[in-house]
Each structure stands twice: as structure tokens, then as C-alpha cells.
Amino acid sequence: MIIARFLGPRVWILVGLILAAAVLVPLANLALPPGHPLHMPSYLVPLFGKYVTYALLALALDLVWGYVGILSLGHGAFFALGGYAMGMYLMRQIGSRGVYGNPILPDFMVFLNWKALPWYWSGFDAFWFAALMVMLVPGLLAFVFGFFAFRSRVTGVYLSIITQAMTYALLLAFFRNDMGFGGNNGLTDFKDILGFPIQAAATRAGLFSASCIALAIGVLLVGWITRSKLGKLMIAVRDAESRTRFIGWRPEDVKLFAFTVSAVMAGIAGALYVPQVGIINPSEFAPVNSIEVVVWAAVGGRGTLIGPILGALLVNYGKTVFTAIAPDSWLFVLGGLFVFVTLVLPRGIVGTIDHGWDAWRARRRSAAKEKGESGDGDGSILPHPAE
């Protein structure tokens, strides 16, 4: 196992924890009787599942923002597109159980007096095709968008603004009824997924586990990419783009690769999100959603693997709590949190801990040297990362 050696213990601990959650949460929900102190109520399973898909989205953003320095304010668009692809599959699974009982057309199409399924809906009755589209549609959009943006050397705040414009344009497009994606109401009223009833506790537990497995694979993928020479090159592009250009690299290729991989990950997160919340509508494209993702990554610590995951879980748990206590205050709390993190914890939670740990080790080592004890002997102040 070359990769096993390559990734280092921290990544494996993280993957282990995620996989443990994938097993333990469904067990606590299904195997333990409701009176048991460790029993997990059924309403919490899809809620936690939703958090896990958010964590995957935050990890996807971290790959482009934390490692390549592209502040994308449009990652919600890739998430939503993946969600729509899954939603279309779930709509076709309803069959004749809809309100209008049409075996082919989803309810909203019957309501709009459409006579036949639009061409772009064909194929979505097959799960494999929908699963392919979940990755292909966001990936292709990111590739084309990134190809032109990075080739024209659009960087910094200008790139952030056009990603924001992209998601806003999609928001407006998906609001239109004649786009054929359910307009304002989006896609909902799902019945089953792969033949399992979507409301059943066992299906929800299965979706939770699937989300955890997807997150674990995402961690391994991002860990592998960022620890390779390409990962070092990504950080080099983030820190000194022109230097990479003048030693012969093409930063636009590096950015395009990261942006496309990231969009595919975001699409998968969206596809797992939709069956757990039971609806996808254009509000998922709202610019605010994409900005929230940035806050999660910033709070947890960008440029680390654990940070964005931790940030997504903490901030969303906070959101659940705060919107229950004082629904109107949430946006203020979110804004305040972002200001607080930017001013006080610019490295985020994990970044700050890491930095403090490294500084403490450096102090201890230099103290040891002054006492005349032999250190590691290579004269370095900081340990060699990821070797």
C-alpha cells in the first residue's frame, strides 16, 4: 500500500473517525431501543447526514481555496447542480404515484400542460446515468468556466465576483418554469431511491452511511492530491503564481485541475444532500449559500484537511441551535463569526492549533539545544512536513 504510507497518520485517524460514524450512528438509531440512553432519534439521522454532505462541500472548497488560493464564491452552484441531477432521478422514480398520476411526467410538468418529457430529462430514470450526471454536469461547468477564467488570468477578487455571478445567473435561470426543473418549487415529493422508501429509517441510515463514505473518500482524495508534488505546486501557485510561471509551470492548468475536481466533489455532496432533506429548489443557488461555505472553511481552518470538515459541522450545528432559539439572529451570528475568525483566528481553529503546536515544539527544541542536549541535528527550526 504505497498510498497508506504516503498519507500519514492524521489522515488515517480522520478517515477512521468518519467511517466509525458511518457505522455507529445507524447502529444507535436502528439497533438500540428508543428508551436506551445511547439511542439516536430518527429525526437526527438525516440532520447529521446533511451536516456530513456540507462537510464534503467545505472540503471541496478547501481544495481550491485553501490549497490553490482561488476564493470561489460559487461552489453552492456545483452542489446544487449535483442535487438537481439526483432530484431528477428521484422525480422519475415517483412514476404514477404523483398527484396527477402521470406515469412519465413529473407533477409540475402536468400542471404546466407539458405533453412530453424534455430531451434533457431522458436517461434520468436510470440511477447509473443520474450518478454519472451528478459528477459530469458540475465538472463540465467548472472545466469550461475555469478554462476561460484561468486562461485569461482572472484572479483574486475578480474571480470571486464572477463565480458569484455564475451562481446568481443559475439561480435566476432555475427560477424560470420553462427551464423544466420545477421553477420556484424545485423538485420534491420523492418516494424512493434505488427501490427503498426514502422516508424509512433504514434508508435514511443508509444515506447517512453513504454520505460518510463519500466524505472519507473525499478526504483520501484531497489528502493524496495535496501531499503529492502537485499539491506542493498548488501551494506554490497560491503563494507566488508568477514564480511558478517563470520556472516553466502553467498555473492555469493546476487551477483548472483543482477547480474541476472540487466541483465534482461538490456535485456528489449535493446529490447526497437532496434525498436526505427531501427537496431541491433554486434557493440552493443563492449567493449567500456559497458564502456560508467559505465561512465554514475559514472557521475550521483552510489549507488543512480536518479544518473545513470541523468548521462545517460546528457552524451548522450552531445554526441549528441558534435558529431554534432566536431565528432572526442567525445571520448576525454568522456575520459576526466571520469577522471574529478573520480578525482573531485568521488560520481558523485547526490552523491555529497546528501553528501553536509547531511553535511550541520549536521552542522546546531550541531550549533543549541551549541545555546542550542534542536535538535532531539537522539544524532546522521546523519539522519537515509530510515526508
Binding site: 492530491i225 503529492s228 508534488k229 502537485l230 506542493k232 505546486l233 501551494i235 506554490a236 503563494d239 507566488a240 508568477s242 514564480r243 511558478t244 510561471r245 517563470f246 520556472i247 516553466g248 509551470w249 502553467r250 492548468d253 493546476v254 485541475f257 539537522d378 539544524g379 532546522s380 527550526i381 521546523l382 519539522p383 519537515h384 512536513p385
Partner: protein, 311 residues
């Protein structure tokens, strides 16, 4: 003058030439002129044909002269919003040569480097590398891969990487994203890195993050990154700005060591440093060459004294 027209001809013709190997070119025309003379003395051709022949031979000689250069700039002009940053600049760097370029602020030194490295396209003029490669048709990454390394005025290194990783990313080799993803470290790579670190005197700092280096060490690391690319030509922009005297002496030593095997162009303000290098000097002023020669000759040139040294 007719001479001048001839000067321009080979540039246009050159599209045909790059296929020819340097040997062909060296061997072929050298025997040609002699033959041409004997024939003309016997047959005495039509004056027009003789003129055409003379032109062709002059063009070939010009092309040959260019092909033997490493860097060849001819009549390069670049203006920004009407301001001529580079004005009809012609400059030739021979293989293995080390050249210092001096000039007051705004003389066009940095723009010249931008043009050579593909960052800026000239409005007019020819820029050739290795005699045959038209640099105006390539971008930064392609030019860097051909073997032109550039050091910026402000030290630019990858601060969050170790010294060793900075060099590793710069090593000559494939530059594709996929290769970088599956790249494995090799012994040859390690040896090459050790060799470069020894040259730039940073062996004991190899595991230090570049951010923790001193200003002078960052400059050397950047020079090391250029060396890692294995370039034929190094363009070095003000390498000793902000350095201590001891660091300046060390940098001069390092550059002379590098110049033993490669061509180096140093842009510098610090005259004592240029003196230390003791190489041919070109003085730029308002985008063109004002004076060229030894430092003594250039600094005694009345034109140079007027615009630069005398101030």
C-alpha cells in the same frame, strides 16, 4: 543606407532557416564566398544578379552571426500608452557570456526582461534565443522550459515550502499536472538537489521553511531555483539590493561560479558590485543602448556621465 536594408532582410527570411543544423550553416557559406569571387572574376555576371548575390551572401552572414548568439535583440520597441519604455533596442549576448546591464530608473531594464521572458510582447523588433527560436511567439512557461531563468528584483520564493521543496519544484523535467500528481522522488533528483544546495550554500537549511530565511538567503534560494531549471541563460534583476556587504561579495562569487557554465545577464544599480563582477557592461538609457564596453570605458563615456553617473 543599403547596409541597413540588408540588416533587416535575414529576419524575414529566417522562417526558412531554423531547419538547418548549425554545422551545415558553418560549413556551407564559409566556402561559398571564395567560389563566388572566382566565378565573378571569370564570367562577370549581370550587375543585377551580382547585386542579388551580394545581398544574399550578406543576409546569410547576418543569419550566421545571429545563429551563433545566445540572445539576439534587434530593433525592439515597446511603448505603454505612448511612452516608449524600449526604443529600438539592439543587444547581443554570446554563449557563455556574463553581462551587466546598468541604467537609471526607467531606462527599460525590467521591460527588456519582460520581453525576453515572454511576459510582454514587443510592438516591433526581433527577439531570438539560441539563434533560431523567436521568443515573441512563446509564453512565459514555454520560454522558461527552453532554458531562460529569471530572478525577480524582490526575492520570490515559495514561502510555505522548505528550501528543499522549493528546489524540487524548480528541477528541470516534465511540467504536466498528471506527472506532478503521480511523481515519485528519485535518487537522481535527491543528488541534484544536494548539488544545487551546496552551490548556493544552503545545505544546512534544506529543511527550513523559505519564509524563515534571511533576505540574502532568499535571494540565493531563488538563484538556486533558477539553477535547478538547468537554464542556458539566467536573467538576474538586482540580486544584491538590500544585501549586507558580506552577502554582496558572496553573491558575486556565486554568480561568477554560475557564469562558468552558463550565460548570465545581471541588471544592477550597485556600481561596486558591477566592478566586482568585472564583465562587459551595457548602459541603457530611455529604452536603448547608450554605451557598451568595459566598466572603465562605459563610466568614462561622456554620454553616460551626463545621464547617469554625473547626477
Amino acid at each position: 543606407m543599403v547596409e541597413h536594408d540588408d540588416m533587416r532582410e535575414p529576419l524575414g527570411q529566417d522562417g526558412i532557416a531554423p531547419g538547418a543544423s548549425p554545422d551545415d550553416v558553418a560549413a556551407g557559406p564559409s566556402s561559398d564566398p571564395a567560389k563566388a569571387d572566382t566565378i565573378s572574376s571569370v564570367v562577370s555576371p549581370h550587375p543585377y544578379a551580382a547585386e542579388m548575390r551580394r545581398r544574399r551572401l550578406a543576409a546569410e552572414a547576418q543569419g550566421r552571426a545571429r545563429r551563433e548568439t545566445l540572445l539576439y535583440l534587434d530593433g525592439v520597441t515597446k511603448s505603454f500608452d505612448g511612452f516608449k519604455a524600449i526604443n529600438n533596442l539592439s543587444l547581443v549576448i554570446e554563449r557563455g557570456e556574463m553581462r551587466a546591464i546598468i541604467g537609471p530608473n526607467g531606462a527599460g531594464k525590467t521591460t527588456m526582461m519582460d520581453i525576453i521572458t515572454g511576459k510582454t510582447r514587443p510592438d516591433r523588433g526581433a527577439v531570438y534565443f539560441n539563434g533560431a527560436v523567436d521568443l515573441t511567439k512563446h509564453d512565459e512557461a514555454a520560454i522558461a522550459s527552453m532554458g531562460i531563468g529569471r530572478k525577480f528584483q524582490k526575492p520570490t520564493v515559495f514561502e510555505s515550502h522548505t528550501v528543499e521543496d522549493n528546489i524540487r519544484l524548480s528541477l528541470a523535467g516534465p511540467r504536466s499536472v498528471v506527472e506532478a500528481l503521480v511523481h515519485r522522488k528519485s535518487t537522481a533528483e535527491r543528488e541534484r538537489i544536494a548539488e544545487i544546495l551546496a552551490t548556493i550554500r544552503l545545505t544546512d537549511k534544506r529543511r527550513t521553511f523559505a519564509a524563515n530565511l534571511s533576505h540574502g538567503q532568499k535571494q540565493w534560494l531563488e538563484i538556486g531555483m533558477l539553477l535547478a531549471q538547468d537554464p542556458e541563460l539566467l536573467l538576474v534583476d538586482e540580486p544584491v539590493a538590500g544585501m549586507t556587504d558580506a552577502e554582496t561579495v558572496e553573491t558575486a562569487r556565486l554568480l561568477r561560479e554560475i557564469a562558468a557554465t552558463r550565460s548570465v545577464v545581471v541588471v544592477e544599480h550597485d556600481m561596486s558590485f558591477v566592478r566586482e563582477l568585472s564583465v562587459k557592461v551595457t548602459c541603457l538609457h530611455e529604452g536603448s543602448v547608450l554605451s557598451e564596453g568595459t566598466l572603465e570605458a562605459v563610466s568614462n563615456d561622456p554620454k553616460v556621465i551626463e545621464v547617469y553617473l554625473g547626477r
